[in-house]
């Protein structure tokens, strides 16, 4: 029975909406934390995983000054056109265990999220936990209005529960 289910079991990434404004994603990698931290933050690595390449979207610009107070900007493009741009600044950078940064979908500058990522190493494996917090439920809903990728996914988590209740 799926009722009451919060997490998502498809694939190896678990996703949980922990409140109206928060989302937590968890994934474990077979590597020490220092490698996972580098792969997650350094542009030469980020370029190879962040964009949904199978959908014809590429990371056409990727700049990151990974230190407290530094900024980053990721620009997604397709067929020579900019699809979306995300940017923000790093609030805390403690390699290889912790990273806190702001995240703005540039089309909606008012809805700045704060993302806290922890990298916990145990027995050669590293569990990455990314916690996203938006300023308000409305910030999520507003972001959804234009189909913002990051926001839409989260805002509709609540509908998932609703739909589950309708299935019976």
């Amino acid at each position: 029975m799926a009722a009451g289910r919060e997490g998502e079991t498809t694939g190896r990434t678990s996703m949980e909406r922990t409140s109206d404004t928060e989302l937590v994603m968890t994934r474990t990698f077979r590597a020490p934390a220092r490698i996972v931290f580098d792969a997650y933050t350094r542009p030469e690595h980020v370029k190879r995983w962040w964009a949904p390449a199978s959908r014809g979207i590429a990371l056409v610009q990727c700049e990151a000054d990974v230190r407290a107070g530094g900024t980053y900007r990721y620009v997604l493009g397709s067929g020579g056109e900019v699809v979306a741009a995300f940017s923000g600044s790093y609030l805390e950078v403690e390699p290889p265990t912790r990273l806190v940064y702001t995240q703005v979908f540039e089309a909606f500058p008012g809805a700045e999220a704060v993302v806290t990522v922890s990298f916990e190493e145990k027995g050669g494996m590293t569990t990455l936990v990314a916690h996203e917090r938006y300023p308000s439920k409305e910030a999520l809903d507003g972001a959804v209005a234009a189909g913002m990728e990051e926001g839409a996914r989260e805002s509709f988590e609540q509908l998932d529960r609703l739909v589950t209740s309708l299935r019976g």
Binding site: T10, M15, F29, A31, D38, R48, W49, V144, E149, S165
Partner: protein, 113 residues
Amino acid sequence: MLETLGALAEPTRLRIVEVLGQRPRSVGEICDELSLGQPQASKHLRVLRQTGVVEVEAKAQRRIYSLRAAPLRELNAWLERYRRIWDERLDRLDEVIEGIKEEENRHGRRKRR
């Protein structure tokens, strides 16, 4: 699909859908629950009806609104696609990590810049 999304993108309409997710209700009940004025509620309910998200049934001179499952199921499928975007993204991160590991095994740990 896009119509459903558009209808639900408005915060008040999303709240109406949430309230109707608990059980079918009359306009009056929806207004009480969400502290809405009747004209405002009616306006939003009209949009939700036009996009097929809710349906209305006359019952003892009251109009009872309830959710229709089909468009929400469709939306749920769309949500699943979004989740998969993250799963795929982290699959690629996994590959990058494996690549870094192999590189280190072959050449030893490189000095970090």
